[in-house]
Structure formats: structure tokens, C-alpha cells
Symmetry: C2
Subunit: 501 residues, 2 copies
């Protein structure tokens, strides 16, 4: 049976590719968490070697032929469902990749690096003009790339689809517009209300206790330390070598005790997802979830929907205080007020769960302006500032706290931003579905039964990895179409109460 041979060869080929990604990922991990400054060259040398090798394997004629062979109707019919998914996916990817002319691709990778460097310099100097020509070039090359790969698709739709497969701007417009309509007034109401007093939090916190609290929180929400570990890096991130080796980082600061706790819960959410994908998917495109909105829904569910409730902290706040004695004069109520403190701030990654949505909508609208309305790059900073004023009633004083703050566009990651908010929108729906099935979430949390919630998410979402598209996840879990209504309702109820609106 020839197709069996072909499948075995493919499996072996995938295993070999995985060993190359394994060391490339490990080099990345070590670079961010462990490597001494001067070790950079050695790491970067090895990374170039093994990622180039990996890329060659992923686009080789050998793989192409194997996939073609397995895609023949007779051979394909013999595959089980998982391998059908894998072969279909890999075939699509290699077909797409091979449509990009080699010469163009080399140019593109080179421009990515230059553009990233220009962005870094421009951000440091807070001067958009240093970066503008590179942004223009990245936009032009992104358009060209999409034309090669998807000659029939609208460019921005194709971009969004790369990060959240099956999503399109028609759907997103609908979701974001209806959210924005109610959210802008809510934010304005919150901001005019009485704000909590945060002076008690302005002190110095020891780092050792904060590190122990990270472990406590990760363990509490269901992160497995048999299948995962932690590190420290400038920016928190999650990385998975397989479902059995998932790693999260954090960044501890003496002047801020709250952010690292919520980073721990956020990255913990990503990690719990990856640790619970079916292990038989490991190393294949069926495994590790590649839909950013769905992934983000899980980190944000833990961080915001669950993690910012009083009931979440009730069973553990005394343990947190024991590890961080600086919190001993902060009551649970004061703590909960502060972790739900809404502020209109300039920086997306520092924003609370409510204003965060508006930061994303702003970026989405600007990306549409770029790709759909062809607004010139030179006009983008003004557009940015206008929208900040309109949605958050503040205007950045400079480019660094305005349009230059995020690195995404510098390496061509256009269409990435909307998935952050899609994640929150999914969360509103997941909360409804969970309440319907598990009952009152606050009761569960108060009883310390957060693992029941994790188990529900494992069963409903995590185990499937990439095998279910975002829309399929929503439909399977919630039994309805995506809507932003549940998220808006959640915000309104929660903050009306907290802020006495």
C-alpha cells in the first residue's frame, strides 16, 4: 500500500523538521531568559543556521511531492481525520509558500530586518519620519506578497485571515462597530466617575515574594509544572516546544506589584491552552493553536474575566499577602478596586480590559485606512492622534507614546491587531456558555474550584488545538454566531457596579 509508505515518510520528515524548530525555539527562549549579553553572536549564528535549514525543509521539493502524493483522492481517503487535516493544511501552506518568488522573498526578509531596526531607532528618537519610508516599503511589499499568494483575495481580508482563519473584515466591522457604539460612552462615564485612590500601591515591593506569587497563581489556575516552566524576560511571553514543554516568562518590578500578577495569569492562560492540546497532535499543524484570537481569548479569560473578580482572590488573597508583606495593609476590597481601575492611557499593553478594546479598534481602523483607503503614511500620525482623542479623550504628546508604540507593523504583521479584541469578544460568549453549563462562576471561584473552569475550557476548547477554526470553536462551545453583545453586557454590568454608575 503505497500511500502508507508515503504517510510514514511524511511523519519521519515532520519529526526531523520538528527537531530543527525545537532547537530554534530553545535558542529563542534562552536568548530572552538566560543568555548573557555577549552570548548573542553564538546564539544568533546557530539560530540562522537551523532556521534556514528548517525553512528549506518546509518548502522542499521532497515535501511537496510527498504531500501531492498523499493528496491524491485514493491515498487521501485512507487517512484518518487528523492526518486528513494535517495533509490538507500542509499542502495548502506549501502551495502558498511556493507561489512567492524566491528573489522577492529574500528582499522581503531583508526589508523586515531593516524596517524593525528603523522602527526601534524612530521609537527611541520619538520621530515617525525616521520610520515612515520603511513603513511605506513594508506596506508595498505586503501588498505584493499577498498578490502572489492570494491573487484573488482583497489584501486586508487576506491579512486578517492569516492570523484568524475564517475571519473577514465584514464580520469584524460588524462586531467592532456595534461594540464601539456602546463602549465609547461607557468609558466616558467611567472616566468621569469617582476614581479609586491608588496611593497605597505606590511603594517598593520585594522581588522574591512576587516570584513566589507567580508560582502560586500559575499552580492555582491549573498550569502544570510537570509540563511547563517559568523564566524571566524583558517582556512576558509564552513559548511551547510541545504540549509537554510549555514555558511562560514574566517581568518583575519593584515599583509595580499588580502587573506581574496579571501577566502571570495571562501567560498562564496561553500555557494552559497549549498544555492541554491532545498530545497526539504534537509537532504537527493540528497541534499548537495557531488562531491568535482564540489563543488570546484564553489568556484574557483567565486574566480578565476570571482573574479580576473578587471571588477569584477570596480563597488566595491571604496567601498572596503572606508572600508579599507590603500588601498586608491593603484589604481585599481595596485590592480588587485597584485591579479594576479604569484609566485612559496612551499605551495599549498597559491598558485595562475596557479601554484596551478601543486601542485595538483604533489600530484596526488605521490598518483599513492603509490597505483599503490608501491613506498615505505621512497622514497616519495625525489620524492616530485624532482617534485617541475621539475614543479616549487624550492626545499623545509625541510619536513614541502614539503611533510608534507597537512593533507589529515594523515586521509586516498587519492584520494581527484585531485578533486581540476578537479574543475578548469570544470571552463574553464563553462566559455566557460557561455560566449556563457550570452555574455561577463566582460561587465556583469562592469555593476555590477554579480547576473546574480550567477543565471546562480544556474539554471545550484546548484539546482541539488547531483542528477547529475560530468560528467552529464558537459554534461548538456557544451554539451561536459571534457577537459582541455578551462582552458589552459583561462590561456594563461589571463597571456599573464597581463605579456606581
Amino acid at each position: 500500500m503505497e500511500y502508507m509508505t508515503a504517510l510514514d515518510r511524511l511523519k519521519e520528515y515532520i519529526n526531523k523538521m520538528n527537531r530543527y524548530s525545537h532547537v530554534t525555539e530553545l535558542l529563542y527562549w534562552d536568548m530572552r531568559t538566560c543568555m548573557p549579553q555577549e552570548g548573542f553572536e553564538g546564539h544568533s549564528d546557530a539560530m540562522t543556521e537551523f532556521s534556514t535549514e528548517r525553512f528549506k525543509m518546509a518548502t522542499s521539493d521532497e515535501l511537496f511531492e510527498m504531500l501531492n502524493e498523499l493528496s491524491e483522492p485514493e491515498a487521501f481517503a485512507e487517512l484518518d481525520d487528523t492526518w486528513k487535516f494535517i495533509v490538507r493544511r500542509m499542502k495548502r501552506s506549501i502551495d502558498e509558500d511556493r507561489r512567492i518568488p524566491e528573489e522577492f522573498y529574500r528582499e522581503y526578509v531583508k526589508e523586515q530586518t531593516e524596517s524593525e531596526m528603523a522602527w526601534e531607532q524612530a521609537k527611541r528618537a520619538s520621530d515617525f519620519s525616521l520610520y515612515a519610508p520603511h513603513l511605506e516599503k513594508m506596506i508595498a511589499m505586503t501588498k505584493e506578497k499577498i498578490h502572489y499568494v492570494f491573487p484573488d483575495k482583497e489584501v486586508y481580508d487576506a491579512l486578517v485571515n492569516e492570523y484568524e482563519e475564517g475571519m473577514d473584515t465584514a464580520t469584524i466591522d460588524c462586531l467592532f462597530d456595534s461594540l464601539k457604539k456602546d463602549l465609547v460612552p461607557l468609558v466616558q462615564k467611567i472616566l468621569s466617575a469617582k476614581q479609586p485612590n491608588d496611593t497605597k500601591f505606590q511603594r517598593k515591593y520585594g522581588l522574591d515574594g512576587q516570584r513566589r506569587v507567580e508560582r502560586l497563581l500559575l499552580d492555582y489556575i491549573g498550569f502544570s509544572f510537570e509540563k511547563g516552566t517559568t523564566g524571566e524576560s524583558e517582556h512576558p511571553f509564552t513559548l511551547n516546544l510541545s504540549s509537554k514543554d510549555v514555558r511562560v516568562t514574566n517581568h518583575f518590578r519593584e515599583d509595580n506589584v499588580i502587573d506581574p500578577m496579571f501577566s502571570a495569569i495571562h501567560e498562564g492562560g496561553h500555557a494552559i491552552f497549549e498544555q492541554n492540546v491532545k498530545p497526539e497532535f504534537d509537532g504537527t499543524v493540528a497541534g499548537s493553536c495557531q488562531y491568535l484570537g482564540v489563543h488570546e481569548s484564553q489568556s484574557r479569560f483567565y486574566e480578565n474575566v476570571i482573574g479580576r473578580r473578587k471571588s477569584f482572590w477570596e480563597p488566595i488573597y491571604d496567601k498572596v499577602q503572606a508572600e508579599i508583606p507590603e500588601l498586608s495593609d491593603v484589604s481585599l476590597d481595596e485590592f480588587v478596586k485597584e485591579i479594576n481601575h479604569i484609566r485612559n492611557s496612551f499605551i495599549r499593553i498597559e491598558a485595562d480590559e475596557v479601554t484596551y478594546c478601543l486601542h485595538v479598534i483604533l489600530r484596526y481602523e488605521i490598518e483599513k485606512a492603509i490597505f483599503r483607503d490608501n491613506v498615505p503614511v505621512s497622514e497616519l500620525p495625525t489620524l492616530w492622534n485624532q482617534k485617541m482623542q475621539e475614543y479616549l479623550m487624550i492626545t499623545p504628546a509625541n510619536d513614541a507614546e502614539g503611533i510608534l508604540q507597537d512593533m507589529h507593523w515594523s515586521d509586516g504583521s498587519f492584520g494581527y491587531f484585531p485578533s486581540y479584541l476578537l479574543g475578548s469578544i469570544y470571552d463574553g460568549m464563553f462566559l455566557d456558555a460557561m455560566m449556563a453549563e457550570l452555574g455561577d462562576v463566582d460561587e465556583l471561584l469562592r469555593a476555590g474550584r477554579i480547576k473546574d473552569i480550567t477543565k471546562w475550557l480544556n474539554e471545550k476548547i484546548h484539546q482541539y488545538g488547531s483542528t477547529r477554526l475560530p468560528k467552529e470553536v464558537i459554534s461548538a462551545v456557544c451554539g451561536k454566531e459571534v457577537s459582541s453583545e455578551p462582552l458589552m453586557r459583561y462590561f456594563t454590568e461589571k463597571y456599573t457596579q464597581i463605579y456606581n454608575l
Copy 2:
């Protein structure tokens, strides 16, 4: 000029080999310091892939031909001194490796693994008989291996030479015998003297403070955190990816505050060596010092010769107490007494600097009994116990605390042990030379000028990496032949004073 092309090709080939060792070493590091339990399979898979690849490259026909070409008189004459060294070394290695029949080598690697596993089991069960057949086989295969590679050499001399090039048993016999003659009576005198009271040290110590003390000590002795980093592992070790990325680990325990400090200084000594090898030697056989005795001399110089002096601690003991409040009622004098507490114990790796020598001499004598006198394996436990009684006046109650304690023989590392003691013997000589050139070491240390000592070692020893053989190092630094007299004199003076002998 054809030989230039060959040299460039060789350099490129070496660079590629290095990238493979780079990731193999990194996998090892991560496995010991970071990887979660279930990540083992992924790491071990990748390690097999890349170390096999690396081994193929190191023994390939391509490399063999390049080295032959560069060894031709005309081409060789054009090389600079460093590359002459490198080509000569690599040529010798590949010639040697290629003398081993492939079939035998595969068998040997397989038996190594099995023997290691049998040793682990036997140690757990404290039953030498479980391990004896494997030890017999490893001895036989080691003899066979040496016969292939060095058909004209005496087996045990060849083995010793692998770890400490240029050393032979005639020299070692002379050094060890003269040391033993005086050391056994000194140890017996010390053990009959009044021992310090160590009850104050039997308490629980927090781990965070111990971690900070490790950094303090490493920084103090001259470890560079730009070119190095730390981790935690079951057993402390040093690993270098290059002179710019040298890593040490430690193991912290609540019930022991002293061992981790001296592990830090010990591994720090190894690391300072590697960080200060000329960077142009990086990635070649001229770099990273491969002579175990010389390497060990540096770690022990810091740990024992320097690190156990009162003058070492005088400038920093208050800082140590500030980080480890449990030491606040331990005076500097009490602390110094305890770190020089001599005990006759069963386990080599827990031994003090004096009795340690006898642990090594015992192993050396048993290795000679095996390879020179063909003493049967079944008689080794008894021989071990007799020697323990003779040298340290104690007899192990079981094999686990006797002959089964070390893993070295299980993977065929015969001839390794003597280099530990050679390191200490070199240290006696280095101390004399240093005193003659830098003046009173205690005065330097009391003045906090330990970096002067590090600088002296950098200049005299470290920078040369592997380019000077052990005997050349001694002769260049001390201007005389190796002798154990300085070490014995150092022990006698130091402990006569400490123990009022």
C-alpha cells in the same frame, strides 16, 4: 595559493560543527536547569539528532582530507602558530578516531549506556554485584579501545593521558606517594585533635539570600555576568558555549549554607578560566581548556587556597550576613573554623580539601590494580574498604557509600580521577609562584584586591586555553618541575595553626 583555500574551508567547516555543538550543549544546559520533567523526550530526540550529526562531521572523509592537505609540509609551514596547533591537534584526533572500528564503537556506546543504567540501579540498591558484570565489560572494552587507538601504549598510561595530556603514571606515582607518606599521618593528627563545634550551623537557611550570596561571590572573585550566567541544577557544573557565554549552576539547600557558597566559588573558578581564554581561540581545539587537572587547579585554587582563608571573607562577611540573616550570630572566626573543618567521611564529593586527596589516591590505586595488576572486579569492594580504613580510618557500611558512589567508571572514564588531585598539587605550586610575584596573598585579600589575583591567573594560565600542555603551564608559571611538596607544606602550615597541632 591552495593551502589558503583549504584553511578557509576548514574554518567554515569548524564553524558549522560548532553550531551543532552549540545547540547540543544548550539542550544539555536546559535539560539540567530549566526543562520540565515531561519535556525530556523532545530534548533527548533533538540531542540525538544533532550530536549524531556533529559526530559524523568530526570523523568525515571531507574533514580528514582537509586536514591531510593542511598537514603537508608546504601548506603547514604557511599557517600561523595557533592554526599549526589546531591542525596538528585535529589531525591527531581524527587519525585516532578513525582507528576505532565502526562496529566496535557502536557496541562501546551501547555498553556505556547499559553500564550507566546498571550502575544507577546498583547504587540505589547498594549492591555491587548488579553492576560488576558491566564494570568487567567496560574494563575489557576500554582495553580494546586503547589497543586500537594506541597499539604501542600501556593502557593505563594512555587513559591518564586522555584527561591530562603529557602525564604518565611514573610521574603520578612519584607525586602521590610522596604526598601520601606525609598526608596520612597529618590527617590522623588532625582527626585526633579538638574539633570545632558546629551546632550553630545546624539550622534552616532561606534560599533567596543564598542565591544573592552566590551572585555576590561570583561577582567578587571576577566572574563576568556579561559573559556568563547562572542556573540551578541537582549537581553544580560549569558549561561554556564560548568564552563569551560561560554558565555555572548551583544547588541550594535549606539545611546547608556552606556547601553552596563553596560550589559557587569552585564553579566560578572554572568559569573565570573559560571566560578569559583568548576569544580568537573560540570554537577551536585551541580554546576551552581540555586538561582536567589544569582546569581543576583553577576551581580549587579559588575554592580552597583562596576561598577558605579568613582574609578572603574579611571584606565581605558582613555583606554575606546581611543577605543570610541566619548567620548573624556566627562570628567570622567561627565561620572560618567551620569552613576548614576536617572530617573523615565516606563520600568524595563532600570531602574537605585535605581528606579529598586521600579519596583520589585510593581511586587511582584501584584503577592501577584494575589495569596493571588485573585484579578481578569481584575483589574491588574489599580493596576499596581496606584502603578507606588505612587512609581515613573508617570502613563503608555498604557499597553505595563505598565503591558505588562515583559514576565515572560506569561510562568508561578510567584515568579521570587522578586529575582532581593533580589540580590540587598544581595549586600548591601556583600559590608559591603567586606569593613570590604578588607578595602576601592574605594582605591582598584583606584589602579586597582579589581581582589582582584573578588578573594574575588570567595572564599566567587562563588566556592560553588548550595551547599549553599541563607540564608547560607549570614550567611557564612556576619555572620548575611538578612537585607535591608545596601542597603538603601548605596543608601542614595551615592546619597546624588551625588545629593547634
